[in-house]
């Protein structure tokens, strides 16, 4: 029983990360038909924003020394700021080009951000001690669960509720949902394209920052590659969920988290190192079953 509970918490906390990552990608895809591959590098940027630039192995913590109530808003602002700047400087110029062109531009931007970090901080992973006391376990129904896992899950749920409220109950949310479904029609009703897109980028950047904070607390290291893996899985989650569908992205994020965690437990020990092969086989199977994703959004039709 306690073992099952442990697996459930592992699955939920891993799924939370994937779901938040996928949501950041799906939000932008919704309004712009852009898969932003720079999203993972935005996460890395947020982590390094806590450090003073140096090529030493030891991290010189700078903003990371702030108390949590200042550090969290600061990192969220960094994520939102970088993401909005990407829109203004790069993606705005590609707005009416085809999706493949935008995707390549996002890859390129990702490399620019990564090499910028490389220049300032070198490629050596640095260890950071951020809220390490969160690694201590708490006892829930007899199972010993790391506090950080509980916080990760609670944070993800809180973000999902807040975002749902924002999308369903506010004017901005209404405009974003309309723009995601039919951008041209929304504009003909006076919805300002630039404002909606910048807002989507800001939200996406904040989600990247939230994932970055959780990741760095979990791993205790800052690495310029750190966003790459989660970006890949988050992208897969948005595709499985149905590109453009926010509930789909969240659901698929949790699903992949659950599959990965369960496989880690049920696979025979000698197959465990190859777990990811099984996870991606499940991805292929899902896509054969549902080529447009589990939740096919109405807006999936081609846009004029």
């Amino acid at each position: 029983m306690t073992e099952i509970l442990q697996v459930v918490f592992d699955a939920l906390s891993l799924g939370s990360l994937y779901a938040l990552g996928a949501l950041g990608i799906a939000l932008i895809f919704g309004v712009m038909r852009l898969v932003n591959f720079a999203h993972g590098d935005t996460m890395a940027f947020c982590v390094f924003a806590m450090l003073w630039p140096s090529v030493d192995a030891a991290a010189i913590v700078f903003a990371g020394n702030l108390p949590a109530w200042l550090l969290i808003p600061f990192i969220l602002a960094v994520g939102a700021g970088l993401s909005v700047l990407s829109e203004i400087i790069v993606f705005r110029r590609f707005r009416n080009t085809n999706p493949a062109t935008m995707m390549i531009a996002s890859f390129a931007l990702g490399f620019v951000i990564r090499y910028f970090l490389l220049m300032l901080y070198s490629s050596r992973p640095k260890s950071i001690d951020l809220w390490s006391n969160l690694g201590l376990p708490v006892e829930i129904l007899g199972a010993r669960i790391p506090l950080l896992q509980v916080i990760t899950i609670v944070t993800a749920i809180a973000i999902l509720i807040a975002l749902t409220f924002f999308l369903k109950r506010t004017r901005f949310g209404l405009e974003m949902r309309a723009a995601a479904e039919n951008f041209t029609m929304a504009r003909m009703l006076g919805v300002r394209a630039n404002r909606v897109i910048m807002l989507a980028f800001a939200l996406s950047g904040m989600l990247a920052a939230a994932v970055a904070l959780i990741l760095v607390t979990q791993t205790g290291t800052a690495d310029i590659q750190m966003g790459g893996n989660i970006m890949l899985i988050a992208f897969i989650a948005t595709v499985i969920g149905g590109l453009g569908s926010l509930p789909g992205a969240v659901f698929a994020g949790f699903l992949i988290g659950a599959i990965a965690t369960v496989m880690q437990v049920v696979l025979p020990p000698e197959a465990r190192p190859f777990r990811d092969a099984f996870v991606y086989a499940a991805v292929i199977a899902t896509l054969i079953w549902r080529p447009n994703g589990i939740f096919m959004p109405k807006s999936a039709k081609q846009r004029v």
Partner: protein, 242 residues
């Protein structure tokens, strides 16, 4: 007073020329029907005015300001409300959310609330289903919704691409009655695309006939709709088949 003037605009989609030097003027409080066969450029003309497609030549002025080259949202905010062809409802939004989208740019919230009531009184079916997703509506109900939504923006000029498409004759009558009433009461100006001239003949107003991206004929709707010239423009020969 001239509300809208389209001067000699040309629109191309790639190598295809959809409009070649089309012009029209529309005075305040007027009803102008745009008719013509399939592919004559009627919808492209609407899209060009709305700012969705950019003309490569010519200019468009609305309320005395040049609007060609401006963004669709800017043009909408000047009081141009568009009902495009193909019932572009937001299917994942509720009916009320669809209607509320149009209010965003308005400062007069009280009037907007009254307009919402007005739209519901014109189309009672929308009121009874207002919390349902618009995607669940039938084609005719969706048409009512997009017309209602365009009215919610509190426009000076409303342009409707094929309002009678998919509506029952009784509902079409209601829609036209409402539109004409709005023209008479609040001075709404109407630009209506209809493929058939029948409705123009019944409603009256002015009419232009488009053919191959150009304005072929212009005149009083009732006179033009019953003339041989119209048939000639549609079919390429006169009624007596010479």
């Amino acid at each position: 007073m001239t509300l809208l003037s389209v001067n000699d605009i040309t629109v191309r989609y790639g190598r295809l020329t959809a409009l070649r030097g089309a012009s029209l003027t529309l005075n305040e409080g007027e009803i102008l029907f745009v008719t013509g066969p399939n592919g004559a450029g009627k919808s492209t003309l609407m899209k060009a005015i709305a700012g969705v497609v950019k003309p490569v030549g010519g200019s468009i002025a609305f309320r005395g300001e040049t609007i060609s080259g401006r963004s669709p949202e800017d043009i909408a905010r000047m009081g141009f409300s568009m009902v495009p062809e193909g019932r572009e409802v937001f299917g994942s939004l509720t009916i009320e959310e669809n209607l509320r989208l149009g209010i965003g740019m308005r400062a007069d919230r009280d009037q907007a609330a009254r307009d919402l009531e007005m739209v519901y009184s014109i189309f009672p079916v929308l009121l009874s289903r207002r919390h349902q997703h618009a995607g669940a509506l039938s084609g005719g109900q969706q048409q009512m919704l997009v017309i209602g939504r365009a009215l919610m923006a509190g426009p000076k000029l409303i342009a409707i691409d094929e309002p009678s498409l998919g509506l029952a004759p009784k509902v079409i009558d209601d829609v036209y009655q409402t539109l004409v009433k709005l023209r008479d009461t609040i001075g709404l100006t109407l630009l209506i695309v209809e493929q058939s001239a029948t409705r123009a003949k019944l409603t009256g107003g002015r009419m232009i006939l488009m053919r191959s991206g150009e304005v072929a004929l212009e005149g009083d709707a009732r006179e033009l709709a019953s003339s041989d010239a119209l048939k000639q423009a549609y079919f390429g020969y006169g009624e007596h088949g010479k």
